[in-house]
């Protein structure tokens, strides 16, 4: 089918995905999007993309399949020790002082994918003897990713970004060609399914000292970014901090958060 003939199908499918999960695909991404959807629709038993669309829209099993599709589309590019400096800063600058002040701080990893980010945080907290005194919440829109995270079993690619040898040796072991994380770390994380674009999901999180939402906003339109940031901000305690990816910036959105920098790590504070 030609590009022009596929355009209406692309328009309605991508609109459905964006409505559900905020992921935005422009015309330049049509081929990539349809290729991935075609693979998923084939697995669901549909040769025709239009038939698949109507299944998503009208069949009682459609919403669940839409979740699967979204999970399939989201590129879970995460690995252990990614952007480690930011995670160290979180522990040293925000969490340790809060614990010393007698509080039980909360950290929310808001788009954790297969869990390498919250588990890396757990390693750092454990290294400083803080793991038991912190509430660590990890969420993602993809049930499939969360299920994978809970197994504690990862491919070797999850160590591809370079790593802290001491931490890796202490908390990760190789087993049958895969990596296995210590059960104590898995148990320290509360895993939840949360759609950042659904207010009914985010408003149940509760106030957090630190929220991480890294390398997700790039998939959203600007309007969606503003809405998501507003929701995340509402779950931040006064003086709490939001961390986004190193290539992401909120400055052009004029949010209620103030941009700060410490040790070359940028973050956004909810000014009290």
């Amino acid at each position: 089918m030609t590009t022009s003939a596929l355009r209406p199908v692309f328009a309605i499918l991508s609109a459905l995905v964006e409505e559900r999960a905020g992921l935005h695909y422009g015309p330049a991404e049509q081929d990539l999007f349809l290729e991935r959807v075609t693979t998923r629709s084939g697995e669901a038993g549909f040769e025709s993309l239009l038939d698949y669309y109507y299944y998503l829209r009208y069949d009682p099993a459609g919403p669940r399949e839409l979740e699967e599709l979204v999970a399939y589309l989201v590129v879970n590019e995460t690995y252990f020790f990614r952007e480690l400096e930011a995670l160290r800063l979180i522990v040293g600058r925000f969490i340790a002082p809060a614990v010393r002040a007698g509080r039980r701080p909360r950290i929310w990893s808001a788009a954790c994918a297969t869990g390498e980010e919250p588990l890396t945080l757990a390693m750092l907290l454990a290294q400083d003897g803080l793991l038991e005194q912190v509430e660590l919440l990890a969420s993602d829109i993809s049930l499939r990713a969360l299920d994978a995270a809970r197994t504690g079993s990862f491919s070797r690619r999850s160590l591809r970004g370079g790593h802290d040898p001491e931490l890796a040796q202490r908390w990760i072991r190789e087993e049958g060609g895969r990596l296995r994380v210590a059960p104590a770390l898995l148990e320290a994380v509360a895993w939840r399914q949360v759609n950042l674009c659904a207010p009914e999901d985010t408003q149940t999180i509760g106030e957090c000292d630190v929220i991480l939402c890294r390398n997700v906003l790039i998939y959203f339109r600007d309007e969606t970014v503003v809405q998501v940031i507003a929701r995340l901000s509402s779950q931040l305690k006064p003086d709490g901090a939001l961390f986004v990816g190193v290539s992401e910036s909120l400055l052009r959105f004029g949010t209620a958060l103030s941009c700060e920098e410490t040790e070359q790590v940028f973050y956004y504070r909810k000014v009290s």
Binding site: R7, Y55, C259
Partner: protein
Amino acid sequence: MSVRPPLALTEAEQQRLAEARRLAALGATGLTGLLAMLSDASWAVRRAVVAALAELGDASTGALCVSLRTQRDDEARISAVVDALVSSPAEVLAEVSVLARDPDPAIAADAAQILGRRRHARGVPILTALVAHADDNVAVAAIEALGRIGGPSAVETLVAAAQSGNFFRVFPAIDVLGRSGDPRAIGPLAELLSNPMYLLEAARALGKTAQAASVVPLSRLLSHPSEATLRVATLALAELHTRHRERYGSDEAPAAALRKTGTGATAVPRLVRSLSNAAPEEREAIAVILGVIGGDAAAAALSGLLDSPDAPAALTAATALERLGRHSDMHVGEALRQGNSLRRRVLLPIISRSSIAADVVECLTDGDPQVRALACEALARTAAGQYVPMLFPLLADPSAQVVQAAIGAIQSLGSTETKRLALQSATDTNPAVRRNGLRILGYFGFAEALPIFIQALNDADPRITDLALSGLAYLELPEALDVLLSAAGAPLERTRRAALRALGQVPRQDPRVYACLIAAFADPEAWVRYYACQAAGNLGLTDATLAIVQLLSDDAGQVRVAAVEALSHLPNESALEALCRVAEGEEPDLRRAALIGLGLAKRPEGTPRLLEATRSSDAATRLVAISALAESSAPERVSALAHAAQDEDENVRAAALGFLGTDADPAATGILLELLSDSNDQARIVSLLSRPGAGRVSALLTKLAATDDEGANLYCSLLARLRTPEASMALLQTLSQGELGTRKAAAVALASLRTPEAVAAVRQAATHDADARVRQICSILLSH
């Protein structure tokens, strides 16, 4: 640990900002107050004041010009005034022209900057005069302003500046001359290559001219002793090729000029040696030039670049190798056979020659699934059917992408072995291979597959049963239809569903099919009813119209939509009436399906609803409406497409532009040309206008009859890109009969064609044109 203060305004700044907004809200009454705030210490406040003053338009122009002339003790203030005059929507040319003649050079320079930043084409004569100003700063400001405005009008003045020997004027003039694209700039720029002070800048500028005549002076630099000069020359040559292709649709003219210089023998070894220390963009440029020069050494070097860590250079090297054609087969083949997955990923997408098919086959067993998939696609492009048997093992590949690519290649290539191997696959012990074998059998409709399909109906894997039913539809055998009709009444919902879907594809209309579908409309399962509707529509069963109309009230949404889609294929009044009704409804999916149906029906009754839908708040509905309108012959469609071409939704815009590009109405070309100047989709519009279409040439000639020099360059380059006899005739006609500006542009465009007629016409004009400038340009174009 360091902590910077947050990025926020102080309370005092916020108050002053509020004051600026208050004054802005007063309109012209707030002018005095706003002018007083132009010296505010805060950048944020000054920005707000500048914006407010600009918005006042005519009301602020005079006061701003007075301020620029009389209040010159604060640089920040001056800068703010200039910014306000640049941004103002008012017509400021008259007032700014007065400033340009001010005896104070600083004021004249500011005036030049304003004209340049406003891209004021009517300011060109003023700026041309300022280039000769006694003060260097004014001259430089004027030269830079001309550079912003663009266009060939000021070339003679700029050439004089470039030849002035005054460093402060020569330098900015070099860059502007390069971007002018005027062939008359080439000689003076080439002269500057002999001056070490200007060599590199002049080389870069020659690259920007996009003229094949610049190739000769640049090619001499490929043997310059300095490696830095070699690199700059290579970058410039690569840029020249790119710009020429963007402008005229092909880079063959500069490529031929470069090959003709014969510098390959000395240049290639030097270029290859310089690869090791080259920056990424330099490697990319070297790849381009090696691909143009060609030869064994160049091909070998390009093969080496396939492993480049930066993707653009690797991709460029692959494209360059493909450009070398059969001369590079040995190197391409070796690169495939011995290359790693990374190299193969870069090379496979550009392969299409059957001479390399054997090497492509080697890639079918690569460890990288993407390489295996690309190899399947490449093999299909080579049309080398003798390798089809090598694709069948991939039906068991663990990667779905590879399997899809392999099936696609098998279907596309066909061969005498396909039937045997597909029949064998369809009975494989591996269910995945069986499924894929059935797909292939269904695609080709081999009659020998009948017993296999029938046997597969009892397979434990329901997907195999589905595929078997689907394949039976294409066998054109009475027994196959019998099986399908029987399956349509099976106890299992999934079987009934698949059978009805398949019945929509049967090639002949058997009365039993009609009865089967009507019965299925009452099936308790929604998806069975859905596929029954779909089948009825595909088979064009007009007798089922009323039964399908009843399904518009079905409880299941997908059945309602399927009913609408089925009605779209039934050319009768009942169907049309139902479609019109649904097209005005509230359910978005039904409405869209009905709009598509109205488009297919091509009946005038549908047009008002389609036009109404082009104004829907839902982008997907607008998209479907314009797609449907584009297929119709409604006279209103072109204006609707024109409106949609400026839609806020990029999908709608892209679709509308695409339809305008292929519309048979000559007015569509006119609309695309109007959109060209304002649109964010300029590159796309140029691409659409480069394809032959109804009324293209006459529309371009109409534009040429009333345009300026810059417009003439654009329209003549579009004519050149068409590459049709009619377009060539138009250029020849323009060269012989057009106004001065269009004759210059036509000469350049004809030179890019390199046809004997074009060259002869340019040669004729070089000696006989009435204007010396045209004769000069033509001589330059013929000089390489």
